[in-house]
Assembly symmetry: C2
């Protein structure tokens, strides 16, 4: 009996197959990526979201290894949460490995996990799989996709890619290798759908270098460039431009400093030692000789740029004459914070340059023409758009159809949907658990819909707690009613309302209509009515009846 091959997109909030995808054959599986997502706006108080690995925990011997495509948080960030449960070996390129090691050290997992370095072209054999990483261009160096030979055929997982013919580090996309897979025959292509809404071709990193050149040419004062700490290529572009214009570079912020250090050690960032200066040395150089690189493009309150914008940064105070470059786009959901930051930078008199004004950022993902080129090179029998929200998968699927793949061979699925390949072909098999696992503080998965619903209610209208102590023999009121309320009304200005609430409770007690066991419900209903009538708000109400 031959076994089935199964592909299972597991991780992502909103997005499908973004953070983790399984490739399974018989009793063995490998995972590609193990990333985290940031919570959606209505996941109140949640720190981050990780893939649902219930299926792997239910089949504890199944997973053999995790292969990482690149070093971004949404591809490696869940490792510290998932490895303690499933301590399998990791496979990653050198820079990705460096970024993973920082994480595992912090989580004290370093000594427990085997990390293997892979390079584009090297082949790893695990169980029934042969796995070969291939080089792709993305917004971080050393990104790869994976070719996975299985007994049922060859699977291509693109990772996150674009076909950039002028990448920041000069490493061109490996079209030949992709074409060779296609020549050999590919069973299924799993391809990055992020930019399926964008026609044409994603602009090359070259245009960012040119824009930097133009800005550096004209700026008279300091230049502050904000980008993601992981965007090593962008930092390289800043350094290159700074070199030409004889500016020194100060790297500000812990995560940025760490990443730059590590990338230099591993040889992924080329810079003469002399170009860097420490933040405390900034005053020793004229403004026209300084570039500051920092984080904060998403308006994160604790980032260096936002602290500068709010005049709360201890070492850098912005002023007229400074030029600030936001070299990133706002992740959906962050727009308000980003706009606020830009407004505040302008208020300080800085000149702010962001993507609406000049091309200071390009996407790291393939647009439609590149997505089509990928299909054309690989010529898969089956096409599975991944790494995108549902609408992007649909649109990406349509592109596949335009490229000649029959609609029946295109699988637009949700996380947890198993796609099975047997001797007759591919079909949708069962679904495995896939709901996002929310991390809040030390709690992994303990906050669910109930706690979130309460947080939502509390965030809208707050709460009121009413405490009364009754004589356990007579049922008479001995103490109270005492009221605590937060988030409902401004308590200091609402004494009348609180007095009215207390009186209502006393009336209810005196009326004799309220039995001890129904007291909480009656008080709750009556106060709800009172509060709604007076304020049109619905605080959560909690009566506590002590019998003493």
């Amino acid at each position: 009996m031959t076994e089935s091959l199964r592909i299972v997109p597991l991780g992502g909030v909103g997005e499908v197959g973004k953070n983790m995808t399984l490739i399974e054959y018989g009793d063995d599986a490998i995972a590609i990526d193990c990333g985290l997502m940031f919570p959606e706006n209505d996941m109140l108080g949640i720190d981050l979201v990780i893939p649902n690995i219930t299926y792997l925990l239910d089949n504890p011997e199944l997973l053999r290894a995790i292969f990482l495509t690149h070093g971004h948080e949404d591809h490696i960030g869940a490792l510290p949460y998932i490895l303690p449960e499933i301590p399998v070996p990791l496979y990653a390129t050198r820079l990705t490995q460096g970024l993973i090691e920082v994480k595992l050290k912090e989580a004290k997992l370093h000594s427990k996990i085997e990390i293997n370095t892979v390079n584009a072209g090297s082949v790893i054999e695990i169980g029934p799989f042969k796995i070969e990483p291939f080089h792709v261009c993305h917004s971080i160096p050393d990104a790869v996709g994976y070719a996975v030979w299985t007994p049922r055929g060859l699977i291509i997982h693109t990772g996150e890619y674009k076909f950039d013919q002028s990448p920041a580090n000069g490493q061109l996309p490996d079209l030949d290798r992709l074409r060779a897979y296609g020549d050999e025959g590919v069973l299924a292509l799993l391809s990055d759908s992020t930019n399926a809404e964008r026609p044409g071709h994603t602009p090359s990193e070259q245009i960012v270098s040119e824009t930097f050149e133009e800005i550096f040419e004209q700026a008279k004062g300091r230049i502050i460039v904000a980008t993601f700490a992981s965007n090593i290529s962008r930092v390289q572009q800043v350094i290159n431009t700074a070199l030409k214009h004889e500016r020194r570079v100060a790297v500000v912020g812990r995560s940025m400093v760490e990443n730059v250090k590590m990338a230099r050690e591993l040889g992924y960032l080329t810079a003469p030692e002399g170009i860097f200066l420490q933040t405390h040395e900034l005053d020793r150089f004229p403004p026209s000789k300084i570039v500051i690189v920092c984080t904060g493009t998403q308006g994160e309150p604790t980032s260096a740029l936002v602290r500068m914008a709010n005049q709360e940064h201890h070492q850098v105070s912005l002023r007229r004459g400074d030029t600030v470059i936001l070299s990133a786009t706002a992740i959906p959901g962050n727009e308000e914070l980003v706009h606020r930051t830009i407004n505040n930078l302008f208020r300080l008199g800085a000149d702010v340059i962001y993507q609406s004004l000049m091309p200071v950022h390009v996407s790291g993902h393939a647009a439609q023409d590149e997505q089509k080129l990928m299909v054309e090179l690989v010529r898969p029998e089956y096409f599975i758009p991944i790494q995108g929200e549902y609408r992007m998968l649909v649109l990406h699927g349509r592109l596949g159809q335009e490229m000649g793949i029959p609609p029946a061979n295109i699988f637009v699925v949700e996380n947890g949907q198993v796609i099975e390949f047997d001797e007759k072909g591919a079909f949708l098999a069962e679904r495995v658990p896939s709901g996002p696992i929310m991390v809040d503080g030390l709690g992994i998965g303990d906050v669910g819909s109930v706690v979130l619903r309460d947080r939502h209610l509390l965030s809208r209208d707050g709460f009121v707690v009413v405490v009364i102590a009754l004589d356990q023999k007579t049922g008479e009121l001995i103490e109270g009613p005492d009221i605590i309320s937060r988030g409902f009304v401004f308590v200091r200005d609402s004494e009348d309302l609180m007095e009215a609430a207390k009186e209502r409770v006393i009336e209810l007690l005196e009326s004799g209509k309220m039995h001890r066991d129904t007291a909480p419900t009656v008080i709750s209903d009556q106060l709800s009515q009172l509060f709604y009538q007076r304020t049109h708000r619905n605080p959560m109400i909690f009566p506590m009846v002590l019998e003493v």
Copy 2:
């Protein structure tokens, strides 16, 4: 002694001079617009935000009238909140008046407020002012700007405008009148900054009609067009295209139905009676003969489109073959809800067409080239960018400079900043109160930073209330500790933690180290530590100590 002329941008959250601007001379002032804003994402539980009229309440005889530029919520929506405080006459064009009347009737203010109809070209005299509305193109018919002659000179307030040479209703922008003001000499131009980040010229409404034509040509099933209920011009475009393609039009949703009815009665929407059908008649016509017009472009949970997307709409259930058009852009902050709606529509098998895919919407605001044309026509001595966030005002100000206005004559200001014009020129005078006034239920302005901070804390980590009853003579524990918690942990799975908290309180009581008056603080500190240590969360903690 001659008096000073003063201009005061009053209303807007994030945006400046968006919802209300005062023009004041001596003892008289008129306001332009009286709109509301929707709360920013961190204004938890807030329904809407209105302009701060403290300055007008402090000077009760000052305001003589309110002039409305057009019928959008952010220009008329605060009237029901502000007119009870300051019942002045209103001036508006006919359609705007119709929209205002609906509001005032709902608020039972209709009989108390005088509304005067104005037309482009008519002149109103109030105190020292002569006011003339002039026609502008915007995304609602009957929009105007205002020319205000004052003893110090002529002020031009553009309202919200674009220079559309193919507007949906055929009414061209009145370049001649603007040029005539310029010829006469304009002291100050207050101009719409919304699209100051966009180069070039905002595309004409014509392109939307063409796209509709293309979609209607190809769609085989039902077509559902979602847009703002106030976007009467867009509804007209749908009707025009439906007529050509012999489709009937069903208007779905209360606000949309009301606005269409009113606009037809006033003659702002042209449609043969026979083209409309009722929602309950939908099943009587083949899908290819149906267009549904509804709201929901912002992902509003109660809107018709979102209910359709969630399969919760009683009368319209979407299916494969339906084409859904989202004819609007997401207002910043709404992206997540909009994307979720689009994903869900695709999940139902509908074909969804939105702005990333085809030009099914154009902005109602002037882009940079039009903003320059406005300055060129009006040739003001002073330039005051309004109606935009701070960064847009800065960019708009730069355009003014490019057009030859000296930097010293360009005022980029915040809400509440008085700009004064005396015999020597213009200068920044004092600031008047301008913080946004938040409306929550019946409360206007009672929710401030304290309540919002509490809602924020509650939304992140919830709360814990601990109640103990002590003997008032001996200080011994009589009852409790009882604990109520919401939004912190899933209580049913956290009995251990709650027991630990109770034990900690009992230990504290038994240790004798805790005095009655310090008990709340000690309990709070100790439980804070315990909870953080176990969960890394920081719930609000409220100890209640009853003495009985």
